[in-house]
């Protein structure tokens, strides 16, 4: 049974996780992921009738690829993050469900992320996430995150995390 305490605990985790991203503490953020974690952003499209699913997603990262993205921006030569984007992650509509596994919960949430670049360039990213959070010792870790962006044409290249 999902108790009030459990839901509050998960929400607190998600809010603190978002703060790490907005403060650009990317290695601390990556430490919240389990070693076998998956980070997936499916392709969103409008399809009609009898057609197959999209051939590949926008992102399907393991922890090593997430690290590669962070390392790229740490080279000091990653122009897409020079100067760094300002981001504000607003996380809402959190629903916690139990899973078959006693140490894991499934969490859905909605988000609005505003990305501000340079003087007046910006992007608004809106969508929903499906997470699997795993209890490891005293804390939660993310073992799977699926990010469904509500857009079929992205407003700019993705250089931030959701």
């Amino acid at each position: 049974m999902v108790t009030f305490e459990l839901r509050a605990d998960v929400e607190d985790f998600l809010n603190r996780e978002a703060r790490l991203l907005d403060e650009h503490r990317f290695e601390d953020w990556l430490n919240l992921f389990t070693d076998d974690a998956e980070y997936i952003v499916p392709l969103r499209e409008h399809v009609q009738g009898d057609v197959g699913p999209a051939g590949h997603p926008i992102i399907r990262d393991n922890k090593m690829m997430l690290l590669a993205r962070i390392k790229k921006d740490q080279t000091g030569l990653s122009h897409v993050e020079i100067p760094s984007s300002m981001t504000c992650h607003l996380i809402s509509n959190v629903i916690v469900d139990e899973t078959q596994s006693s140490n894991e919960v499934q969490v859905s949430s909605s988000f609005i992320v505003r990305q501000a670049r340079k003087l007046r360039d910006e992007a608004w990213w809106v969508g929903r996430r499906q997470d699997i959070l795993r209890r490891v010792g005293d804390s939660w870790m993310i073992s799977r995150r699926e990010v469904n962006l509500d857009m079929t044409v992205l407003p700019r290249g993705i250089s931030i995390f959701f």
Partner: protein, 456 residues
Amino acid sequence: MTVLSELGTIVDWEKGLVSPAIHFDDEVYREEQKLVFGRSWLVVGHEDMIRKPGDYVSNYMGEVPVVVLRDNKNQIRVLINKCSHRGNQVCLFDRGNTQSFTCSYHGWTFGLEGELLGVPMEQPFYRGELNKENWGLAELPSVANFNGLIFASFDPDAPAIEKWLGEDVSWWLENFVLASPTGGLEALPGWHRYRSPGNWKLVSENFIGDDYHVFAATHVSWLHVIREFLDQGILIPIVTYPGSPTRQVFEGSAGGGEGGPLGLGMIVLDDSIYQRDLEEAEQLGPESVEWIKERHDRLQKVLTERDSKPYSFMNGLLFPNFGLMGFFSAMLGRHFLQFHPRGTMEHEVWQWTMVEREAPQAIKELAVQRVYQGQHMAGLIAPDDVENFERMVESTRSSQVWDRPFHYGLQLGHEHEGPNSLPGNIGPNPSEFNQRQFYKFWLKQMQASRTPAGKE
């Protein structure tokens, strides 16, 4: 005096000097919709995207939405996505399978050949006086299938596609881009799309030949990460940049006579990438090794008569706006990018992925992953290009700064210093020869009389 009337002076491709005005001037933009997009053969998709009758994909030709479909007689058609009655869009989906398109305004319904099938309450209101045969969807008058790649043109008198492309462009497209000798390409469904700042020509000229930016500045962060990970023995998927000065890397150029030019950046003429593909294939298993050897043998047969033996290319563009990525390696999927014009300040990239049809599943999976982790809207490469275009718009949009031309002088006068046993021109890399060829042909189209292409 307008920018349009001065094009002959301000587009000085021979000296490698081109005014930024051609990207930002509204009148130039309006005219090129007619003179460039209205008369060129434009890529609209690949036959593998529409395998069975009723299959369709949506796309654009310039700013015009079109539907590319396979009708019930297996003929590929390109219809303008605009109701013949009052101009409403009739197809709202990115791809699908259907037998008809019904307009949401008054309910006119069209079949797969564009024919007007039905009109609501036709008998009582139109009293049998509407000649439905005259009111089908407009269809592109010229459609061609070149080794699976579907082209269309607004020009009813467009030259045959073979003539537009010419022998040299056809040779490179067929053998290296579309992989015909090695069994052709298989499409992965789905448009990967993103908005990007700047006029469409900024990104087109980047793809046709700008390999200078790759390792000089724009993408060095990506190259650093690859090097750092490789040094630690970590194989993240995208590791396929050659990056060694000992390798024989050239720029390929073809066409630009009757039809638009093709540029291919970083053609590798030694077997270093083949050897690297073999090493990687060994980690995937004997089936993969067998395939890499097999496709190499088939390619060698095409090259029997040639002194130079190209293995692959990295990037390219077919004029006006069709970007090509091969990334050197058989272990990486092809990706095709269309740079759709969206005014002087923005373009939209529509990208799709293909893999070699006969490759084993293990190679296909790796090849696809490397596409979306690299030159893709969420990869480690393309977002840095988008960032550059945004900065270029910010600093160059004002007509106050258009007097000073952009510089395209790299390898000026040295463009033919390469082996000459291959179709087209093989020159040094990096170079801006292909950018100069791009603007030469663009200028020719902008200055042509209003006589449609192909007519004398």
